[in-house]
Amino acid sequence: MRKVGAVMVVGGGIAGIQASLDLADSGFKVYLVEKEPSIGGVMTQLDKTFPTNDCAMCILAPKLVGAGRHPNIELVPYSELKKVEGEEGDFKVTLNRKAMRVDPEKCTGCGDCAQKCPVSAIDKYNEGLGERKGIFILYSQAVPLVFAIDKEKCLGCGICAEVCKAEAIRYDEEDTEVEVEVGSIILAPGFEEFDPRIVTEYGYGRYPNVVTSIEFERILSATGPYRGTVLRPSDGELPRKVAFLQCVGSRDDRVGNPYCSGVCCMYAIKEAVIAEEHNPGLEPTIFFMDIRAFGKEFDDYYARAEEERGVRFIRCRVSHTDQEPDSKDLYVTYVEDGEVKKERFDMVVLSVGMNPPADADKLADIMGFELNDYGFAKTGLFTPLETTRPGVYVCGAFASPKDIPDSVAQASGAAAKAGRAIASQRGTLITSAEYPAERDISGEEPRVGVFVCHCGINIGGVVDVPEVVEYARALPGVAYVERNLYTCSQDTQESIKEKILENSLNRVVVASCTPRTHEPMFRATLQEAGLNPYLFEMANIRDQCSWVHMHQPEAATEKAKDLVRMAVAKARLIQPLKKPRIDVTPAALVIGGGLSGMTAALELADQGIETHLVEKEDELGGNLRRIKFVLGGEDPQAKLGELVGRVKGHENIRVHIGTRVEDIQGYIGNFETTLLSKAGEEAVKHGVVILATGGVEYQPSEYLYGEDDGVMTQLELEEKLVEGFSPDTVVMIQCVGSRCEERPYCSRICCNDAVKNALKVKEANPCSEVFVLYKDMRTYGFNEDYYRKAAKEGVLFIRYDDEHKPEVTNDGGLRVRVLDPVLNEDIVIEPDALVLSAGVLPALDNQRLAGLLKVPLSKDGFFLEAHMKLRPLDFATDGVFLCGMAHGPKAIDESISQACGAAARAMTILSKETLETEGAIARVNEDLCSGCRMCEGVCEFNAVEMVEQDGEVHSHILEELCKGCGVCAATCPSGAITAGHFTDGEILAQVRAALTEVSR
């Protein structure tokens, strides 16, 4: 059967981008289809992200640019699916590519057209709180940076074509049909925010000061309509009291969304905290039913918000809001402690839930896969990445509502699945750039070519470009100067190449926009002209000059000259740098033989990678061995059996049971590990490590556990239930060993487990009484259904808090006393079984392994990934990955997603024979090195090793691991380390150049 080595990813949000990058980095061609003119999705609209409060755009932009520039990713923006034919491995997809009416090859993104466009339209990016023009980009950092004409709004006046100096406007462009052949398809269309107009009692759409949470994100954002100061839309005043109403369009059967959207509690807390940061003195109040802070370090964030940041939390569902007609103030009516209260607020933020994407039905129809009851893609607990159509995979919020890190992990997982199906075709459809041999410039005097960009009128309209050109001509070392209308245009690249050759240039300076977006392209131009790519320097005379000094043309021109002078001064000193290449051992080591480890091993093995699966116990399966039934009815033991069978029978997997990892040496591509088992020591070589060490159930020391036979954990109950245990009265206590002083984190799975077991008890014995004593019920996502079912079947949920913990005694029978907060009186239950929802602890071996691999642990003892939001499966140390409970407590489907994701991340390395790494890295002069180890201490990437030579210890940089940050060079007390491309000499030359004219 024919297979195609390409993948189509539908949806260019963070999940789609991650899946695309993973696939493109492991040898597959990717078509990234996005319905909007730019990729980025909802994340581009967010101000900050929880729980790290990172600026969303700052962490997203590198991925946007990476996807936009990747040679193996073809962006297909402004396009929608029309038809899908064929089958797994060999699909033919027809797309409708909407006319952007701007030639993407010619558009430089300068924005002159939008400035002159007389038509205004609603700015969707700013949620209608601002305006955009009839010709637009979605947001200022858009990728691709190509304008599009909004045909609905366009008057057809023709002005944009007249002002576009790049001649990029194409009014006659029509929608086109595009056909692509791909082997796999990944769906990542995201979600639609719930429209709260339906919930009329909150007044959204009628009261201007009632806004949605996503509108509030834009209000908070420095790039938003109010530049980051929170203002009331009705009158522009600073609000003091802001109410956040949770579960708007979530956990609400009336609007057809009984599920929990899973993210709103955290984003509301974040918005409350950030709002107070932006408007000191602002008083946020969050009205909630349960705070579902179930993710990694979320509870910490919640606690800090309440204790340190003064966010007020009120547990109740708000009945309605009213507006005071003159002041437009809002009155929120709610019930607290059995009393109806009415409180005035300046603003109300509705925490809107996630709906499936608006075109989900259409997608399902075209693709032929099934949706679940709520319109999301239907998946299984053990098949969280597969839709019902073979070869079509899903990730992100379309699979189930989820946050960014879970989406990113799942996206990598979907990439693994998509790649596995066409693994035989890896490398068949990708392109790699071929460059001529590099000219040796050693011994040559610097001959700098300076190219100054007008950027249409973006620079030229403010800065006197001809004057800058004349000025540059006189600078020392400059051999050639020219100016261009757009230095970035394709024809200018050709001209730069010619000028390099004609004038024997050996350095190039481009004075234009920002190197953050354009340096890679200009470097490639140098390479095409036979120059080392590092012989290039940029002067940012647009983003940091003309655009910010629009009313001071003379001063801006002077500044542009200064910037060019500085760039030339540095350019004269820069040297060619080599990018190190390292060989990759095409093998993997997976530590941990539970569900995650086995899944990761299988994914790798199926893609042809020799995989060592190490399990410390004598049997594979981990915690899954103790799980006897699951919510939803699948048979976990049958799945486990299947999995173990496949692992043991796989030709590419070597299972090492009863084995411990004794030592790990080496680095990305080249690890060497010593394994120890009863059979003795064995050394294995591998290119990557995946940590899947799992977690263990907490052994309670409270509530008479271990003293009274009637007291058991959920896992123990589960084992008893399958043996026929059928108690009449059961009390479950949640958060035993979790969310306590010693372990403040939430164990994430216990609420679902309690509901699962409660339903099982009820199923066996409908007359039984089951009480669940909880702090917050955290049955996030679609599991909310089971919580509701349990309540409907008579399971009693009674909330307790830390001040009123249940009391358990046994004086001739188990007695549980707990305060019922609704009745406000103690109730006493005498259960047959007291079941403790014992939390998840990190694996005992984590500490030791962290030491061996020099990777960090979180304060809770789980492994700490490279970045909590966008790199959930990586470590800062290259070549080491994590998944499953090693990362933190998680459910079966989440562990599988992460395990597949870790495999996909690993494949980005293992799919290559050699890796090319950064050339601008640190180098040590061994003669100067005193062996003080300070560099080793400051390196975040474990790129420094101390070597002994002739009895002396000195520092050695592992080129493969060095990222070129230069921290070591700045730290070294002996001046022994040079930071490539940012040497002291180069930096000082720039500084001197900056100061010369000033002191003149």
């Binding site: 007389p118 008057l155 009158d235 522009g236 005043e237």
Partner: protein, 258 residues
């Protein structure tokens, strides 16, 4: 002393100016209130110029051109009409009587018609009385409005729209689609409202920094609308926050980009 209106007239070189000459040649008498400015084409008369004349205290402005179809420059008069329409819309916004404006077509052969027109318009202005912007004590509030209208008329957006109107509505747009006058008018109405309001705000802030609430009261605009304009003006770099007074951000003007 009886009120003697000050009226400014723009006459196109080829038809109207010739028509006025003919009235002279024919000795047809009319009032002395008109001061004529010769322009080559009525299409040259831009709204901002008319508005600045009104701001200076003129009691009336009259524009005359060739009859439709007769224009020496093919359809300069059609542009004149479009521009006049914009002027009228803006004047309407300010509250100044639109009766102080007039656009007429006078051919080189219509000496009598020219004289009648001057008679009629002068009478019309006499009835309206002196411009509230004339004399030594002009209505300062109105003056600010007219200045805002003038600034709006000078801005790129309205100039561009009015510049493109004739061709687009007549010949269809760049896509070859028909654009009806109603459709165009809808955009014009919105754009005039927007640009005028923004300049009102901008001018008010030039007078003195202020908050959304203060602007809302001062300008009689809804506070929500004021904020929306402030958002846009900040985006343009025309205004920025000066300080936060109590709970109110106070906005101040920036130097306007040319």
């Amino acid at each position: 002393m009886a009120f003697e209106p000050n009226i400014v007239g723009f006459l196109c070189n080829w038809c109207s100016y010739a028509g006025a000459d003919l009235a002279g040649v024919s000795r047809i008498q009319y009032p002395t209130n008109l001061r004529v400015i010769r322009v080559m084409c009525s299409g040259r008369v831009e709204p901002a110029v008319v508005l600045s004349i009104l701001a200076e205290g003129a009691d009336g402005v009259m524009i005359t051109g060739c009859h439709i179809g007769d224009c020496h420059y093919i359809d300069g008069n059609l542009h004149a009409k479009r521009k006049y329409e914009l002027t009228r819309r803006l004047v309407e916004k300010t509250g100044l009587k639109t009766g102080r404006l007039r656009l007429e077509w006078v051919s080189a052969a219509e000496g009598q018609r020219f004289a009648d027109l001057v008679n009629d318009f002068t009478e019309q202005i006499r009835e309206l009385g002196p411009s509230p912007l004339s004399g030594t004590t002009p209505d300062l509030g109105l003056l600010l409005k007219v200045r805002a209208a003038k600034a709006a008329a000078e801005g790129f957006r309205l100039r561009a729209l009015v510049g493109k109107e004739e061709k687009t509505v007549t010949d269809g747009n760049v896509y070859g689609e028909e654009v009806t006058q109603e459709e165009w008018d809808k955009v014009m109405t919105e754009s005039v409202e927007t640009e005028y309001s923004r300049h009102r705000i901008h001018i008010a802030l030039t007078e003195a920094p202020g908050s959304v609430k203060e602007l809302s009261e001062k300008l009689g605009m809804g506070s929500q609308a004021v904020l929306e304009h402030i958002v846009a003006l900040r985006q343009l770099g025309w205004v920025d926050v000066q300080e936060i007074r109590g709970t109110s951000p106070v906005y101040v003007t920036m130097e306007v980009p040319q």
